[in-house]
């Protein structure tokens, strides 16, 4: 007996230890339940974090685009329409109207962390006999690299980007038979072109992207695509990425631009995560309930088995409250110990799965995220569940008539 442990703790621990098999089985049951929850939650958190990381380092969170061009009806006079049938006009590549002013306004917004104007369009990359259709994106490296960490994706070169330079995807370089330092021709639809030096090769992790991607200086893109001084997009990052949609709406309401947040463009991902979350919640609730019923069942039996002990304890002056706490504590302890074992079990299973399940190229399927909070919260919820589950059996124990209990 430890002198610092109160009577109720000593008695609960003793009763649990004395109930060997029962205790072992129910703790195992709790551990398995908690293990499943931990495994599931940690894996989902990993997948989500993976995606968010991509969002944070390889794309902007809000894109400002020129307003859609709409056709207007001809009017003869007030309220008279010549022709009521409207046809959507072909959308030309247009520059954002007065973009420097909008950029400055964006820079002034406290929620916005980076602003970068870009000019994107299609062109043809030519080297000798080889030619490939590419997407040319003109950027200001200083601001753009804050939003898309292009240097992180470099596999060769230093990523320098003067008006005579180009950074291209590794697949595109392969297709053109070009390598770092080589010169390639980028031509626009009208056949007017520029000769640029390859200063960087990047790998974005997808073959399709590596085949088409090319970055040039903003000025180079403007002259290539025939829009001197224009930009097609303003890329933004924001402090709170989950507030992106709200901020985007504010921006389009007060500026002559269309603002699209990553949340909207990745709606599918969010629906998937939400579906996953709600099914997980359901699983958690049901696992929690079966754990609770298991604990309650074991304790109800334990109260019956221990009724003589309870009677003797009551006879020697044990208060009802003390008896109540002895059994509440047993529920809490079972759940707490079970949740610790379950956390270890879940974390172990996830680590194993993480090391076994690999993508085709050997990289991890999902990052291994074992957040301390997950374990702390799991243990807390489990303990509370254990206490709640123990309430009825404990009340029963406390209400036991000592005369009945002792007579047996």
């Amino acid at each position: 007996m430890n002198n610092w442990l109160p009577f109720e703790w000593i008695a609960s621990v003793r009763f649990l230890r004395d109930g060997r098999m029962q205790t072992l089985f129910i703790v195992s049951g709790i551990a398995i339940g908690v293990g499943v929850i931990v495994f599931m939650s940690a894996m989902l958190a990993g997948l989500e974090a993976n995606f968010i990381k991509r969002v944070l380092t390889s794309q902007s969170q809000i894109q400002l685009l020129p307003l859609d061009q709409v056709a207007r009806t001809l009017r003869n006079g007030k309220g008279e329409f010549e022709d009521a049938i409207l046809q959507r006009p072909a959308q030309r590549v247009l520059s954002i109207d007065q973009w420097p002013k909008i950029r400055d306004r964006m820079l002034a917004m406290p929620e916005v962390t980076a602003v970068s104007p870009t000019m994107a369009g299609s062109a043809l990359a030519i080297r000798g006999d080889a030619s490939r259709a590419v997407t040319v994106t003109g950027i200001e490296p200083a601001s753009y690299f804050k939003i898309v960490r292009v240097p992180d994706y470099l596999v060769a070169g230093d990523g320098r980007l003067t008006s005579e330079d180009v950074i291209i995807g590794i697949q595109l370089a392969d297709d053109l038979g070009a390598t770092l330092g080589d010169k390639i021709n980028i031509n626009n639809a009208q056949g007017i072109g520029r000769v640029l030096t390859i200063t960087g090769l990047i790998d974005l992790g997808s073959k399709g992207a590596n085949q088409r991607v090319s970055f040039v200086a903003l000025r180079t893109a403007q002259s290539l695509l025939g829009m001197i001084g224009g930009v097609t997009t303003i890329e933004l990052t924001v402090q709170d990425i989950y507030a992106a949609e709200i901020i985007a709406r504010q921006i389009s309401a007060s500026n002559q631009v269309k603002a699209e947040s990553w949340i909207k463009t990745n709606a599918q991902f969010f629906t998937a995560v939400q579906a996953q979350e709600s099914s997980n919640t359901l699983i958690r609730v049901f696992v929690g309930m079966s754990v609770a019923f298991g604990i309650a069942a074991v304790l109800v039996v334990s109260v019956i088995q221990r009724s003589k002990d309870i009677g003797i304890l009551r006879a020697m002056g044990t208060r009802r409250g003390q008896v109540l706490r002895i059994f509440l504590l047993q529920g809490g302890l079972l759940a707490f110990i079970g949740s610790l074992l379950g956390s270890a079990l879940g974390a172990g299973a996830l680590t194993y799965w993480h090391s076994m399940a690999r993508q085709a190229d050997g990289t991890e399927l999902f990052p291994l995220i074992l957040d301390r909070n997950l374990f702390v919260i799991t243990a807390m919820i489990a303990t509370v569940t254990g206490l709640l589950a123990a309430t009825l059996p404990a009340l029963r124990a406390a209400r036991l008539d000592p005369v009945e209990a002792i007579r047996g």
């Binding site: 007996m1 430890n2 002198n3 009577f7 230890r17 020697m316 002056g317 208060r319 002792i406």
Partner: protein, 227 residues
């Protein structure tokens, strides 16, 4: 005049009150016990001895009549006060399931003090050890309660009953399950405690030989005291 420990005035006890099966088990019991007295309670099976003992031990309440513990009327005490009084004033020795088997012999003796204080202490342990010596079982202190003979368990139960220095020990057939020799040993132990510390005893027994070695014998027949 000797100090009074216990007094019962016209105590009645009925079970299943208000139902068709209502039965009165104790009728008009008057009884008093003085400090240091060793009283034997005898009577045929079913006569109400255990019922009486439970009432005296504050485990049960009389249907009518009064119970005084050291001049204190217990009728209006709350449940919590009754529990406290029981813990401090009364020790129990039962016939069956004497000890809590999840604990050692020594821990069983510590238990009433532990319940009272809330935490174990060296002082409690020292007192329990002293009591274990008193009942001659210091060697068995760390045995689990279940791993002892019936006679040894009953001696530990006596030690436990004395833990809080109660003024009254109630023993309901404590020797009923023991062979003559062990029964004798347990009885002599109680007698010795009684004469050493002036603790009063109320002993329910079917063993007339033991009853005759007590200070006074009371016989209960059909819920009435006859002698």
């Amino acid at each position: 005049m000797a100090e009074e420990i216990l007094r019962l005035e016209n105590v009645c006890k009925a079970y299943n009150v208000g139902q068709t099966s209502e039965t009165e088990v104790l009728h008009d019991i008057n009884l008093h016990l003085e400090k240091g007295e060793f009283l034997a309670l005898i009577g045929p099976s079913g006569s109400g001895k255990s019922t009486l003992l439970n009432i005296v031990g504050l485990l049960d309440r009389p249907t009518s009549g009064k119970l005084f513990i050291k001049d204190q009327d217990t009728a209006h005490l709350t449940d919590a006060a009754i529990t406290s009084l029981r813990g401090h004033r009364i020790g129990f020795v039962f016939q069956y399931h004497h000890l809590i088997t999840a604990f050692t012999a020594l821990e069983n003796v510590m238990m009433p003090m532990l319940v009272d204080r809330g935490f174990p202490s060296d002082e409690i342990k020292a007192r329990a050890t002293m009591l274990m010596e008193q009942v001659g079982l210091e060697k068995y202190s760390n045995n689990l309660a279940g791993n002892m003979s019936g006679g040894q368990q009953q001696r530990v139960a006596v030690a436990r009953a004395l833990a809080m220095s109660p003024s009254l020990v109630l023993a309901d057939e404590p020797t009923g399950n023991l062979d003559t020799k062990s029964a004798d040993g347990v009885f002599e132990l109680m007698r010795k405690v009684n004469s050493d510390s002036a603790t009063s005893f109320l002993l329910v027994t079917h063993n007339l030989d033991l009853a005759q070695r007590c200070d006074r014998i009371i016989e209960v027949v059909d819920g009435r005291i006859t002698a």
